[in-house]
């Protein structure tokens, strides 16, 4: 039989582990609070509909940090509710009707996911607050690819849409899938003919492009910067309206004669039916954040492109995006 001391020790060891685990599990607990006029806003919570470490998570946590550092808001809680490409979080946001303290970090990916996962909750039901940042997409090929310009590539693609495999780092409905599909549509290729190969994020896509497994890759330009610098990958075109500073010599699609502007953007929405006062608090807070030095520093450090619009302007943008994505995905039989 074990002595009492031994059992105590075991109990202690188990308790230590349990306690440390418990810290992890409860670190995101609710902290209620109420807003007060004038001083820093309190009790704001931002839901991230993806896992920690992803793009939305980084954006939301950076925003929360800037809000704290610039004393715009205190006690901003960021919590994760991942699932179904963000639609689990979207459903929760829609269910929290009237909750003026909650906002959801989202972006183009959630728009697509709300259709591919046949969600009953849609982004048009939410209260749009602000679009924060955007990233231009890039059309890339390995260094020894026969395609020298986007024109070469499009000509070959038109001739044999099914034979040209395009790789992207998101599943169907995600930004990297929407980009080549919209590109195909703009150059007169039936999107249904496009041979899109989905990879699990940039980590899997990059070797597929480097190893020449796909004819070309489509993703955010940030995924490829270092490889471009090292001469392993060539960027044929960026998809933003203006050229990207980090890729000065690369033409845009527009300047190459293709009528398409496509960016992967991230923004923040609130539940439906929140009061005008609450909406104003959020928009004020986000506007002040956008004007802060700290936010500008973060944009530079992380290579994000500022794309700040708020309120009704963002609402119009969101509606347009929603419709374009819905049309495309319906045509592909995904919505």
């Amino acid at each position: 039989m074990a002595t009492r001391r031994e059992l105590l020790f075991v109990g202690f060891a188990a308790a230590t582990v349990l306690a440390s685990g418990a810290c992890g599990a409860t670190a995101e607990k609710d902290e209620g609070g109420s807003g007060n006029a004038g001083g820093p806003a309190t009790g704001l919570r931002i839901m991230v509909p993806n896992t920690p470490g992803g793009g939305y998570d980084t954006t939301a946590r950076t925003a929360a940090k800037v809000l704290e550092d610039a004393k715009i808001a205190t006690g901003v809680q960021v919590f994760n509710l991942p699932g179904a490409g963000g639609t689990v979080g979207l459903q929760r946001t829609v269910n929290e009707k009237g909750n003026g303290k909650l906002a959801m970090q989202m972006g183009l990916g959630v728009v697509g996911a709300s259709y591919t996962s046949k969600s009953t909750a849609t982004l048009t039901q939410t209260t749009p607050l602000a679009k924060l940042i955007e990233e231009a997409g890039a059309i890339v090929v390995p260094k020894d690819s026969p395609y020298r310009t986007i024109g070469d590539l499009v000509a070959a693609w038109r001739a044999n849409p099914k034979g040209i495999a395009v790789g992207g780092g998101s599943s169907p409905g995600g930004p990297d899938h929407l980009l080549p599909m919209q590109l195909a549509k703009s150059v007169g290729i039936d999107p249904r003919q496009v041979n899109y190969v989905s990879y699990d994020g940039g980590g899997e896509l990059l070797p597929a492009v480097l190893g020449g497994k796909v004819a070309f890759g489509a993703s955010g330009f940030g995924e490829f910067l270092d490889q471009v610098e090292a001469g392993q990958i060539r960027v044929l075109a960026v998809t933003s309206a203006a050229p990207v500073a980090a890729l000065r010599d690369v033409p845009t699609l527009k300047s190459s004669g293709i009528d398409l502007v496509f960016t992967n953007w991230r923004g923040i929405v609130a539940p439906p039916g929140i009061s005008d006062a609450d909406r104003k608090v959020w928009i004020d807070v986000l506007t002040r954040m956008h004007e802060s030095e700290q936010w500008k520093a973060e944009l530079t450090k992380r290579g994000w492109t500022d794309a700040f619009v708020t309120g009704d302007e963002f609402a119009t943008f969101l509606t347009e995006q929603d419709r374009a994505v819905a049309d495309l995905l319906k045509q592909l039989g995904l919505a």
């Binding site: 685990g21 599990a25 896992t51 920690p52 470490g53 946590r61 490409g85 990059l206 070797p207």
Partner: protein, 501 residues
């Protein structure tokens, strides 16, 4: 040896009292999160990112490296003691490890896991220093057909774990394959078997499956039999590994390392497949086949070495070309960016000091893990002497908390219970559990790679055959399949002729 000099500089940076303390903190946190199912190293590093804003980059990475290795190791503890794998890569450990624990050899199982992790981690980190460029070139050259071939190899290899009854083994495998197909299909974007439940759209996490089927299933089983059978007293064995344990462990450690390191470096490799392959290999090569399924130390030593070696392998493409091959590496890359460091092919040149400090901290973290965990092994082993009702209540608590922690959704608790009932039913009807886990892990990946290969070739079947890697792997598969025939018609006659000329 330029690298050696750099590495020594790295050690000089790590071996300050403050950095050692941070490394110790890292491995402690890592072990703790490894122990708890559901909270993985990736999530921990992500949640700790804001905390490290105030630290020097080198210190933050020392801590992350500790968490990463600690997490890989920590998963084994609960696998062995409580039959509750903390990470998907320690599922295999639960099979033999928990049997060993029930036979009073928990201390030995924990020790071989700890020492094996240390050995594998150290060798793999050394490999990281020496062979990075060729490994990366190799990893990038692999495509979907090669991965598909590797998945097929894993499938063939794990038929070795189907158990005594092939029919039951295959039934369990099929259940696993079905569970693996749940979710949005990443090729076509269509939902499969989600029954309109949005929480199922991402599929079921393999940790939730493993914890449900192993831990909750077992708890239900014990609860159902608690009154009928007198409690068996788990004997208390010797606290340390004996001479025979060492003899039986060192080869599996090395073989596990050989499996784990390259798989970790592959963009679609992962830590689970090398543990499967290692287990299958040890089962084949052991001199004590009768012990497999009843607690064979080789079945713990090999897979545990494999998962730690794969953790080091993961860092190869991450440091060399900025390629994250698993979630933890992806979060660590995000951390690089937080310090304004662009990871990628130029990282070694631009941030040489930081990289070598990170590598040195891996060695140190590894050593700290051993120092921290080895003396604890006999103490942990006594955990099993807690009276069973309390012990299993604790297990259920752990399992539920872990399942809940993954997504913070009550639905996952319901899922856990359903899977627990499945585990209970499987025990009742004698279905082995390991093939089910294998099906969940491998099935969806093999399908994805196979379809990707066919997509890339435009639907031509020849697309399934890629470079020399896939040829080699298919050759190995053929040899494995026809080995019994070869044995009967070629090898045995030759041997007999040699013995009786």
């Amino acid at each position: 040896m330029d690298n050696l000099g750099n590495l020594l500089d790295g050690f000089a940076n790590v071996l300050t009292p403050m950095n050692l303390l941070i490394a110790l903190l890292g491995v402690t946190i890592g072990t703790a999160v490894g122990v708890l199912p559901g909270i993985g190293p990736a999530m921990t590093v992500a949640l700790l990112l804001p905390v490290t804003y105030g630290m020097e980059p080198a210190q933050a990475f020392i801590m992350f490296a500790g968490i990463f290795y600690g997490g890989m190791y920590g998963g084994s503890t609960t696998s062995i003691l409580l039959n509750t794998p903390g990470e998907s890569s320690s599922v295999i450990t639960a099979i033999e490890g928990n049997r060993m624990a029930k036979a009073g050899r928990a201390a030995q199982a924990l020790a071989t896991a700890a020492i094996g992790s240390f050995v594998a981690g150290t060798i793999a980190t050394l490999l990281l220093v020496v062979v990075t460029p060729p490994v990366v070139r190799f990893a990038v050259s692999l495509g979907a057909p090669d991965y598909f071939a590797l998945m097929l190899l894993s499938f063939v290899a794990v038929t070795a774990v189907l158990g005594a009854s092939r029919v039951r083994g295959f039934a369990a495998l099929l259940i696993g394959l079905v569970i693996g197909t749940i979710g949005i299909d990443s090729v076509s974007g269509q939902q499969r078997l989600t029954l309109g439940v949005p929480q199922l759209a991402d599929g079921i996490d393999v940790v939730v499956v493993a914890v449900g089927v192993f831990a909750v299933g077992e708890a239900l089983w014990i609860a159902a039999h608690l009154r009928r059978r007198a409690a068996e007293v788990i004997p208390v064995g010797r606290p340390w590994m004996g001479r025979q344990d060492w003899q039986r462990s060192w080869k599996p450690w090395l073989r596990g390392t050989a499996y784990g390191f390259p798989f970790g470096a592959l963009p679609a490799g992962g830590a689970e497949i090398p543990t499967f392959l290692s287990y299958a290999t040890e089962k084949k090569l052991t001199k004590h086949p009768e012990e497999f399924g009843r607690g064979a130390i080789e079945g713990v030593a090999g897979p545990e070495a494999a998962n730690n070696a794969s953790a080091a392998g993961t860092l190869v493409p991450m440091l060399a070309i900025g390629l994250p091959t698993n979630a933890t590496a992806a979060v660590m890359l995000a951390a690089f960016q937080q310090y304004g460091i662009q990871p990628g092919p130029l990282l070694f040149e631009r941030e040489s000091g930081l990289v070598w400090t990170l590598i040195a901290s891996l060695f140190v973290g590894n050593l700290l893990l051993l120092v921290l965990n080895l003396p604890l092994a006999p103490a942990w082993a006594r955990l099993l002497r807690i009276p069973r009702p309390y012990l299993y209540a604790g297990i259920l608590f752990f399992a539920s908390m872990g399942a809940y922690a993954v997504n913070a959704q009550p639905f996952d608790l319901f899922l856990l219970l359903v899977l627990g009932l499945l585990g209970f039913a499987m025990r009742r009807f004698g279905l082995p559990i390991l093939p089910l886990i294998v099906g969940v892990v491998l099935g969806s990946r093999a399908e994805l790679q196979g379809r990707r290969a066919l997509q890339l070739s435009g639907g031509e079947l020849t697309g399934l055959i890629g470079g020399w890697v896939s040829w080699t792997v298919y050759a190995v598969i053929l040899v494995m399949l026809f080995w019994p025939l070869l044995g009967r018609f070629v090898i045995r006659p030759v041997r007999e002729r040699l013995v009786n000329p």
